[in-house]
Every structure is written in C-alpha cells, then in structure tokens.
Amino acid sequence: MGIRFILMVNKQGQTRLAQYYEYLTLEERRALEGEIVRKCLARTEQQCSFVEHRNYKIVYRRYASLFFLVGVDNDENELAILEFIHLLVETMDRHFGNVCELDIMFHLEKAHFMLEEMVMNGCIIETSKTNILAPIQLIDKAT
C-alpha cells in the first residue's frame, strides 16, 4: 500500500500536519516523527530527496521553512511521490495564494480537506487541482 504517512514539519522540528494511512499508536508516532525529523532535517541541498528509514522510504521536499515528508513503501515510485508533494503545494498555493507555514497551521482543517481529496487509503485519488479544491469552495460559499 503506497503512502503510509504525510508529515509537514517546520525547520525547528515542530509538526504542522500529520496524516497517517496505517494505524500507529501515539508513542510509535512520536518516536517515528522524532527519528525522521532528525534524519531528514540534517541533510543538505546537495543530497538526494530520499531517505531509508526502518521499513519506510521517506521522500521529502523543503519549501522555505517547511518540510514535506512522505513515508512510502519500499517499492513506490520515488519521483512520482516527489512531484506529488509539489502538486500538493501548488494546490495549497492556488487556494491560499502563496501558501506559508502559518496558513497550514491556522487552517489545519483546510489542509486536511485538501489532503483528503488527494489521498485516500494511501493511494493517490485525484490530481486535478480544480477537482481537489471543489469541496472547499463549496464550504467557503456556504459560510
């Protein structure tokens, strides 16, 4: 099963969003996030975007102060996931207009809505930004 989790972490290591597609206990999550953040945040720009950790492969990308980390199975197509991160960021950009860490932090629910439209059960479900954002616009209109 492709994507196991998606994390957004700032460069201080604070989690801004965490979505898991397999059940882990809180302790397991805490430990995992700590290990991954330690490993990935220490890497330089010249290093590749893939880190092997436990049974996962972490595909990550940094945008300003925010790291997007996606944990996948060992046999997932890494570059496809890397660009999926970018698609997620572009989608947020379209909604928030030049998205930043604070947008995600203070609009946690919207970030979740978007993710919910893009990934389900660890599989990519939609890649059209218009379709992804349609339900959010529906709510925005209603309120």
């Binding site: 290093q47 880190v51 060992n74 890494e78 570059l79 660009e83 999926f84 389900m120």
Partner: protein
Amino acid sequence: MALSGMRGLSVFISDVRNCQNKEQERLRVDKELGNIRTRFKNEKGLTPYEKKKYVWKMLYIYMLGYDVDFGHMEAVSLISAPKYPEKQVGYIVTSCLLNENHDFLRLAINTVRNDIIGRNETFQCLALTMVGNIGGREFAESLAPDVQKLLISSSFRPLVRKKAALCLLRLYRKNPDVVNVDGWSDRMTQLLDERDLGVLTSSMSLLVALVSNYHDAYWSCLPKCVKILERLSRNQDVPQEYTYYGIPSPWLQVKTMRALQYFPTIEDPNTRRSLFEVLQRILMGTDVVKNVNKNNASHAVLFEALALVMHLDAEKEMMSQCVALLGKFIAVREPNIRYLGLENMTRMLMVTDVQDIIKRHQAQIITSLKDPDISIRRRALDLLYGMCDVSNAKDIVEELLQYLSTADFAMREELSLKAAILAEKFAPDLSWYVDVILQLIDKAGDFVSDDIWFRVVQFVTNNEDLQPYAAVKAREYLDKPAIHETMVKVSAYILGEYGHFLAQRTGCSPKELFSIIHEKLPTVSTSTIPILLSTYAKILMHSQPPDPDLQNQIWAIFSKYESCIDIEIQQRAVEYFALSRKGAALMDILAEMPKFPERQSALIKKAEDNEVDTAEQSAIKLRTQQQQNSNALVVADPQPANGTPPVGQLGLVKVPSMTSTADLKPVDQGLTQANGTMTKVDPYPPDSSADLLGDLLGPLALEGPPSTAAQLEQNYVPGIDGVPSTADALALAPVEEPANSVQPIGNIAERFHALCLKDSGVLYEDPHIQIGIKAEWRAHHGRLVLFLGNKNTSPLVSVQAIILPPSHLKMELSLVPETIPPRAQVQCPLEVVNLRPSRDVAVLDFSYKFGHAAVNVKLRLPAVLNKFLQPIPVSAEEFFPQWKSLSGPPLKLQEVVRGVKPLSLPEMANFFTTLRLMVCPGLDPNQNNLVASTTFYSEATRAMLCLIRIETDPADRTQLRMTIATGDPTLTFELKEFLKEHLISVPTAPRAPAPPPVSQPTPPPATLNDPGAILAGLL
C-alpha cells in the same frame, strides 16, 4: 491570510505557538484538555459549532503528540449531524483519531451506510473516504455491495465513483471475499474504459491490489491498461487539468505500468507490440530539461518504464539500452537520479543476461560508495553486494574493506557483515578469506559480531592447509600495539590450536607465544579470559620437551584463577591445572579440535533474518533468490584439497540444485562422519542447527569442557570416527556400528515410504523401542509428534534425538528426556516450517543405550514435499490461461520418464490422490492423459498453484511424459523430480522381507540409474 472560521481554535493555536518551551506548551495543552472535557460533560449546552471547534482542537493536540483519550464519542457523533460542515468534521476527525478496532466506530456503521446509499453526493463522498481510510472487517461485510454499486453505475458522478473505487480497495484488503472474482473481473475491465482520469487513477490502484493477489482473473484488463498508456503517452483526450508540466498525468502512467508488472507476461502479439512502442518512446524520448518539476515527472515515468521493460524480459537489445541509460544515470550530478540509477541497477541484477554489462560500471559504482550522501552510499553498497561474484569478489571486498575505515558508524556493522559474507561466498582461495576477516576485525572490531570470528575459526579448523597460514597471520597481528579484543580472542584461539606449527620461526617458541598473548590479558574482559586459559593449556601441552619455567608461569596463572568469581574461568582454571599435571594424558585430552560439522553459515542466516533495515533486505533477498540452493560455504574450488567432502553437504540426501553447476553432483555420502564425535556430545538442544544461538555457540561450547566429553566418547564408542555410512543415500539404513547388535524390526526404508503417503504410523522399531509418528500439516507448517515407546521392563538411558534438517526446513524438536522409564511412552512434538521447495529430507539421529548395547540409528523423517501440498480443483477456465502463461522452462518443465511402475489410469489417479494432487477429469480430451492440480505452500513461495499433466502410452505403461508448471522455477523442478521418484519404482532395501505398503503395488526393479532419465532430470 484569512483567519480560520473558528476564532477559539485560532486563539488556541497561537497560544501554543507562543509557548517558550515544551513545559509551557504542556501546561497550555492540559488546560485546554480540561476545558474541553468539562464542556463535553454537559453536552446539552453545546452548539454544533462549538462541538466542531472542540473536536478540531482535539485533533490539533493529538497531532502535537499528546494523548487524547476522551471525546471520541463526540467526534463520532458529529457524523450524524444534518449539516455538511459538522458532518465533514466528524468524518475527518474520526478517521484521524480512531482506528478500525474502535468500538465507537462500529456504532456509527448504520449512519455511515445511510450516507453512502443516500442521495446527497457530498455526504456519500465523506462516508466513502472515511470507510476507505479506516473501515474494518464489519464495514467490509455490510457495505461492500453498496460501494460496488456506486463504483460501476454510470448514474453517479466521477467524484463519487473515484472514492468508491478506493473504498472498495480497503474493504477488499480487509476481506478479500467481498470481491467475487468471477463476477468482478468483467466489471473491472469495463471500468478501465472510463474517460474521467480521476476515476481511472483510483480504479488503477484498485486493479493493482486485485492483480497483485490474483492476476489470473484479470487478463482481460491487460489490453485496456496498454490502451490507457497509449492514450496518455500520445496525449489524446487528456484535459489540461490532468497534465502536469506538459506531461499527461504522470501518476496514472506510473500506476498503469505498475499494474502491468503483475502480469507474468503478455501473450497477445499486438498488445505486446503496442506496449513496446510506448515503452520505446519513453526510453528514447525522455530528455533532461531545465524545469525541475517537469524533469522529475518525466523521469518518474521513465524509471517505471525501465522497471516494466525488465519485468517483460524484452529482447537483449532493449535491455542493454536500459542498462546503458542506468549507467548514464549513476554518473550524473543530480543526486536523485543517481540514487534511482543505483537502485534500479540493483533490480536489474535479477535479469540474467545483463550482469556482465552492469559489471562494466563497477568503477563508477565504487565511486558512489564514497558519495557524500548516505542514501546513495547505501544503494551503492547494496548494488556492489548484489553484483559480486567469483570474478570480481577480490576487487569489491577490498574496496569495502578500504571504505570501512572511513564509513559512518551507522553503516559499519552492515558493511562488515556484507564483506564477511562475500569473502566467504566467493573466496578465490581460503587464505584470502582469512586475510579479509582478520582485516575486518582489525579495522572495525566493534562492528564485527561474534559469529564472524566463529566462522573463520570453523574454516581454519576444517581446512588443514590453512592452519599454519592462519597461525602466522594471527601472530603478526599480535605485534600491533593496540588490538581489538576480538582479535585477541581469535589470535589466541588459533595460536593455541596451531601455534606449534610455527615453532621453528623466530619469536614463535611456546614461551614467546605465551608471553605475547599473556600481555593482552590485563586489557580483556571476562568473556575472553576463558579462551586465553585454554590457549595456555594448549601451549603448555605443545611445549616439548617440557619447559619447567613456562610450566610454572602458567600454573601460577591457573592457580590464581582457581578462586575467580566467574564460574567459567574458575572451572577452566581448576580443570586445566589438574589436567596439566597428568603429563602424557594431557596430550589426548587437549588434542586438536575435531572438524566442525558443516552447517549453514550463521552469517548468511543472520543476514536473511535481518528484516529490520530495508536497506539491507533488498539485495540479500535478491541474492538468495539467485542462488537458492547454492551453499554459502562453497568456495571457488568446490573440492577442498584435504579430501574432505565438499563442505555444506549436510543436506543428507541428494542436493539437486538448479543454479549450481552440473559438476556439483549429489554426493551420496550419507552422513559425513568426520565429526561424528561432535554430534554425540553436543550439549545443546537437538534443534541447534535451526537455531541461530546454537549455531553461534557451537564453537565455544566445544571449546568449553572438551576433556571429559572426549573421554566419554572414547570409552563408549571406540573408533566411531570415520564410520562409513551406508552408500545408498535413499535408504539411510542405520549406521552399522561394531557394538550395535540390535537389529531393527521391519524395513526402515519401507516404513518411511509408507509414512510419506500417510500421516501416522511406525517410523522405527527394534526389540527395545518403538518410534511412532503422527503428523498434522497446515499450509507450510507441520506438527509431528514422535512417540518413543520403551518396550522393556528396564529403562532406556542416554536417549538422544537430534534433528538434522535440510536447509529448506525449519525444525524444532521439543526436549527429549534422557531416560525413558520401563514400559513408558514419551511424546516429543516437532514443529516444522517449510521455507522453500526442495526434495531434501530431514533426518532424525536417534540413539539410546540399553544394558551394554548402544544403538544409534539415522532415520529419515517423512516431512517431504507432498506434505506441503493441498489439493485444489481447477476449472478449465482457470487451468488453460494459467497453463498457457507458464510458457516454458524454467517455470514449465517437461520430461519423458521411463521405467515407470506400470499403473492403470485409475490406479495412477488414486496414487496421485494419496500424494495430495487433485486429479481433474475432463480437462484433457485425450483419454490416456491425466491432469492434476494442487497448491504448494512454503514461506518463500507462499501458496503456489501447481499444474501437472501426464501423458501415458497405452501400449507401454512403463513410460510416460510429464509436464509440470508452477510460478516458481525451483518448485517446478523439485516437484517434477519428486513425482518422478514416486512414479519410478521405489527401491527397496535388499534385506526387506516385510510386506510392501498397501497403497503401492509391488514395484519392478529399480531403474533410477537409467542415464536418460537422470540426464533429462538434470536439464
């Protein structure tokens, strides 16, 4: 930046953000949790808006890593809210906070179902998404039909259907029965005609899950997938919204190619041609462009295309094109591409023809081993490990050794393990192997596990030619100023055993050896001291003529340690002190250690068992697949100089191996008795060879109290060394010992053959004991119970049962009591796990004493290949596509077998049934043919369908043509050989007067030697 619609939530988030430290944050969070708890307590006063706000706060707190153990019910209850915003929050937060085992979730199942079958499509989407993310078995059982209806009905819009597809995927994973394969495959095929790319994307994920489990039913989807790929690669009918930097949905392209990799092959020439056109276009047409995103996306597609080409086993030309591309990739600057180049090249190693082309890139790969990025270094290490063989082992291992001194700590252990394994596997000569291991210990002692040095000691002990060389090397290392403790252990051990070979050299007199070793004693830990004491005792023994000065020194040390608090040290000191006063008797007792029994390398076992780090796993798995039967111990020259049989021949019966070279003919050695003494005194439980710990402790255990054991041995079984075992490997009759006057009752070989076909009966009987067996088999597991019954009125003593399992079986025998009381029966359960297909047979080495008679028998255990079969009926619809898809060797093998015991067709069908093969009448139109099917279970193959076709000649019943097809080459071969063995007459031992087993008609004379049959069998 618009503030969130929920002010209270925003305030809380910014409060947390403003906290100066973790403690403050915890206080703020605790306060909020308290607040939410009180608000939830009198729920009546809560508006839906407030409820929603608190539930979001809970999610936020949970995300920060704090336990939220209340409020779940409130979150779930929002699901039934009438309005969309509340309902949405309910669904999303529930799927974040809860898991499928949560009771509250089960309570909501009706509400969820109502949303799914209701008419409001936004509600449908929410419900499908939550079930898709966390739905469990109950959901699968009650919702699957509804979800399927949504997916296939064109009256629902794509936004609902795409969610239904992934929801169904979840339900299918929770309970595969919810998808009825027969009915569903057509629907799935229709689904792939879909125009909407969202629905197609999610349906493709569903297809991948379905075909990865059972591709057979979905052949009709294959051409559709190729069509989709064509559509995308030609950019036909792809809306702008689904192109990403000019590339038509790279994700759908990747997924579609992934689905295609689950079909074993593509039969239809047109489909195959269309697909190869697309793939060729991708391979040739992917250029490097400036835009990073576009570049990544196009290369994502390219790498998937490479994987698909490898899978399809394209023509050599296309393969070389792929390797060339990968060779280019591993040298580029862009680290992601470099990483993926190495990773995919490792996968490419599975393709047989291209290894030589890959080797041309060895220099570049070695450069990557020094890359600044650990991810890339790991890939390079994996690839080097995978591509290593006899031709390049020296270069690669030396590179690894060099790299070891600078490697990061995180990699050193893995690195040294891999270097040790490669050195052992591919050593061009054994002295090089010793060099490598000693260098390993020298450079990375902390990362060299005990099993590595145990292994080198085993090698040196078993190869006389190596002993003086190893002693010289060990002596050299001792001159170094600071050496690792492991080096002290291994040098001391080797010099104790073989130091006397060096006596003529300067600096190597017993006294000098002693003092240089003894210099290290103050620096070592308690676990090393016992080894040093043994070494001293051995040096003392070897100093001829006796050197009173040295003797006094060593005695002083022994007497010093006689009061040591560590029991092991104390015991050795006391015993060695006493023994060394016995003069000449010392020679016998402290004689050189006998050869070790050959067993699977503990290292390789460790590597196989090590499932923790994925980085290690891939290549090791790959390596095991490639060399399934080859034995780790085999060095480049399979015939060791000192005349001992090739190592690793513990596989008692035949060791057929598809991958090993033909000259490694099965050696009918039966049991190699060179080390007979050791099996007798092995103080470890009989399952030691299946047990890593036993394996590791082996050398040390022997090293422990050898004195008494060796003596006992000599008293009771004089001259057991070199007892020849019976020549016939197939009928491992009891070893004939001079003292063994006890004759078995009945024919052991026939008892064994009978037990191969039934699950309970007598395995062995003589005047004193009867060994019965009862077995139960389930998939690849088996549970046997041995019933050891004492027939006498006095006890049987020194009872020992040791299982010698072949490498493909994991066997654990529970403890066997040393004494069986008069007229008593003891039951000893034996657990069996089948790891992979093989015809090798496990042996029970059983011994006991009764009065003056010592009896030792070696009995084959009926844990044979057919026990792991489960008959399964197949219909013509299932049989033929499968039969066709397994088109030829090595998955489908055919052979003409001669010298078959003549059976009528009904008799043969009966015989097959007893072998657990399901005869499928009517499948073959020819009346003289017989088709059968069964499922084989092992850890490596899982459940694997086996198809068998027998064509008989009514004019000559002693010959037939047999065709076997399975999805695994080793299984096909082993099953074929197995059936052949059973169809050809079973050789009966010459002295067997006992009646033949009921299920088998009397066989004609043995024809196993028929050269034609043997030759065909080797192919």
